[in-house]
């Protein structure tokens, strides 16, 4: 196995040559790299973040934010509408994710085809899903992994007549510590770090951690060389050393934020007006709930039960499609509801109040529970460069606002249904209610504007979408960047709209598709 990383790597410039260079080692990159390497190709993986294993994971929030989270968890969209959540380590965001592992719903695949995506038919994806589920031990969460908050979510949904189902989990012998977001110290969560990264390495792939992919050199329509900066891991800044890689094909899999950014920094052979457009991120409105007795939401797995009743938006008339204006009148839905899980420092950061008011809430932490909604974005955002800085924009208006407010209302109904004594919406005005009768009034009065609400952005994508033409898409059905002969994208950036469920399994399945195409197109195997 070849893993090169800081500090050894910062000693000299490095030259590499390979069949395929894969930029990124998360769900998209690692699965593509493993598939390519196991097919006999010479693969190099370039990862900006560090290579950490379970022996480095200490379950302390700030320590782990520094190791595995992009921007140490401090990044936000340009107007602070949402906090940006992404990985910066070997294994990518899968190292801090919740291990929720859904197949792409058939209705969403149909929508993607209607939006101009070709190929990726349901039978092909089903075969890939089956293989990935076996590789990652995906299975419905069992009773042993249902903490009190998840049980409350389940019970509330049942009483309200909402469809609730066990969340498929990618785990083996989970010890239920509750530290999924700090990286699994037990290798129980089947992240890329313990699945497709080692598979790729075992098949001969070479991994370069602490290397930031920066510049593609083109010869006409062909990318010939990738230039990278070797980073000084403690600071994340360039060490002054270079890694240059000559490759026959390039797979960009840097994730929903970084892939559009990387491509925007290139002099691509063809102008691509859709690059950085059509962005989505599943903004997550949450509701805190104080219960009469202990909930201990920070232990066991985060999401054992999920409310699927409202996954699709409901309209009087035609359903609204991401980025399209024509639709009937919105009624409800367009999100998944889950129990929330937060360790104390993150919880403290987002609870309302200052001074004694804030510490009084923190002292109730054992009784503090809550829920979170993964909003299926309907209004597109953007990623662009401004004076060299990545700027992410996420609209909190229009259809996104409708869905966020409805998700607040539904969460509040459920939480009161199971006995919450007080709900907090975490907004700048510190909206709190103690009666279900006040839900509509309170939610209607919440000011939904930048920086005033707690919204994370955990599932970015769409910034290099797949389609038929370069006028409105970035890659074709073969994942190939329009205008380039040998540059491919294999991550959620290619999704034409949000997948309506956790995207990890879909990302991997699409990467399998992309890897097979790269192999056939350039290596005849």
């Amino acid at each position: 196995m070849t893993v090169r990383q800081w500090p050894e790597l910062a000693g000299a410039d490095v030259e590499e040559r390979c069949d395929v260079v894969v930029i990124g080692s998360g769900c998209g990159g690692a699965s593509a790299a493993a598939r390519l390497a196991e097919a006999g190709l010479d693969v190099v993986i370039v990862e900006q973040g560090g290579y950490y294993t379970k022996n480095d994971f200490d379950q302390r929030e700030v320590n782990m934010l520094a190791r595995i989270d992009g921007g140490r968890g401090l990044h936000a969209s340009e107007d602070a509408s949402v906090n940006l959540t992404y990985g910066n380590n070997v294994g990518g965001a899968s190292v801090h994710y919740w291990a929720d592992s859904y197949r792409l719903p058939r209705d969403r695949l149909q929508q993607w085809h209607s939006l101009g995506m070709e190929g990726h038919d349901s039978e092909l994806l089903a075969r890939h899903f089956t293989e990935i589920e076996q590789d990652l031990n995906v299975h419905p969460a069992t009773d042993a992994y249902v903490n009190r908050m998840n049980q409350l979510l389940h019970d509330g949904a049942e009483r309200l007549g909402w469809h609730v189902a066990r969340v498929p989990q990618a785990r083996k012998a989970c010890v239920a510590s509750g530290h999924c977001m700090q990286g699994c110290a037990y290798d129980a969560k089947q992240s890329q770090l313990v699945t497709y990264v080692p598979r790729a390495l075992a098949a001969g792939a070479r991994l370069y951690a602490d290397c930031r992919a920066e510049q593609l050199a083109f010869d006409g329509r062909r990318a010939k060389r990738l230039g990278c900066s070797i980073l000084d891991r403690p600071t994340g800044r360039s060490s002054g050393r270079r890694l240059d890689i000559d490759a026959k094909a390039v797979v960009v899999a840097a994730g929903g934020f970084a892939t559009p950014e990387f491509l925007l920094r290139q002099r691509l052979p063809e102008r691509l007006p859709a690059l950085g457009q059509g962005f989505f991120c599943n903004p997550c409105p949450l509701v805190h709930a104080i219960f009469p007795d202990d909930v201990i939401q920070w232990r066991n797995i985060p999401a054992a039960w999920g409310v699927e009743e409202f996954r699709l938006g409901r309209y009087d008339g035609p359903e609204r499609v991401f980025g399209h204006a024509e639709h009937g009148r919105y009624r409800e839905g367009g999100y998944l509801l889950m129990a929330n899980q937060l360790q104390p420092a993150t919880l403290a950061a987002i609870l309302p109040g200052v001074g004694p008011a804030h510490s009084a809430l923190m002292r109730q932490m054992p009784r503090l529970g809550g829920t979170i909604a993964w909003i299926d974005d309907i209004e597109p955002g953007t990623i662009r460069l401004e004076s060299g800085r990545r700027r992410v924009s996420v609209p909190l208006s229009g259809g996104n606002a409708e869905r966020i407010r409805d998700a607040w209302r539904k969460q509040a109904r459920l939480l009161f249904e199971v006995g919450a004594s007080e709900l907090l919406f975490g907004d700048a005005e510190d909206t709190r209610i103690t009666r279900a009768a006040d839900i509509d009034r309170a939610v209607g009065a919440i000011v939904l504007r930048p920086a005033r609400n707690v919204l994370a952005a955990p599932h970015p994508g769409g910034g290099a979408r797949m389609g038929l033409r370069s006028a409105d898409a970035v890659v074709n059905a073969e994942h190939r960047v329009f205008g380039a002969d040998n540059v491919y994208v294999a991550d959620p950036s290619v999704f034409p709209s949000p997948p309506s469920v956790d995207p990890s399994l879909t990302i991997m399945a699409f990467s399998f598709v992309a890897a097979d195409i790269v192999r056939a197109a350039h290596f005849g195997t």
Binding site: N63, L74, P344, G355, R363
Partner: protein, 196 residues
């Protein structure tokens, strides 16, 4: 520094301050900057300058309650933890955080509290922060929220705070410091010894 940071933040976010507010803020910042020095910080730090250390110290004192089993901000080492976060952040985040500190220092006049933030009583500082968090102008909410979140993250990541909130702590008992913390502490120790 203060002037530039304020102007940059003003331009970047269009502020929502309105012309009067912007002028008042910038004027306050520049005049204060040129007429009032800040004493050397109480702690030797890497990223926060003397003025920034004074602002962060005042900010943390207002945000953190302590008592009844909770440690003081000093005992939890919050100012140094914030210094480490700033030191380890990328240049854009560093720039934003530094600008946010300048806004906090010179914004009280816009919330009915004449004087720099660092010169106010604790009660007035708490009032100003509450007013900023609930302001109709997004930029103040943005600034106050970012600094509050950073402060709370640093305070409640300190083990000393866990007992009082009923948190039983990580199952991995041995803390394993990340490379950035090891480098930070090494450089800080060298600076404290007068070597840098």
């Amino acid at each position: 520094m203060a002037y530039r940071a304020l102007v940059q933040l003003s331009r970047r976010s269009a502020l929502g301050l309105g012309a009067v507010g912007t002028v008042a803020l910038v004027a306050a910042g520049s005049l204060r900057w040129f007429t009032h020095g800040y004493p050397p910080g109480a702690q030797v730090l890497l990223a926060l300058g003397d003025k920034e250390q004074a602002i962060v110290t005042s900010l943390v004192d207002a945000l953190i309650d302590g008592g009844e089993g909770l440690p003081t901000a000093d005992d939890a080492g919050v100012v140094q933890r914030i210094d480490e976060q700033l030191w380890g952040a990328d240049v854009h985040t560093q720039s934003d955080l530094r600008a946010a500190l300048q806004v906090v220092e010179h914004a009280p006049i816009l919330f009915g509290a004449p004087g720099r933030f660092t010169s106010l009583s604790r009660r007035r500082r708490v009032e100003v922060l509450r007013a900023m968090l609930a302001s109709k102008r997004d930029v103040f909410v943005q600034v106050a929220t970012a600094l509050k979140q950073l402060t709370m993250l640093c305070y409640y990541s300190a083990e000393a705070s866990w007992g009082a909130i009923g948190y039983d702590g990580p199952w991995i008992k041995e803390e394993k410091l990340p490379p950035s913390t090891l480098r930070y502490r090494s450089l800080l120790a060298a600076k404290q010894r007068g070597e840098a």
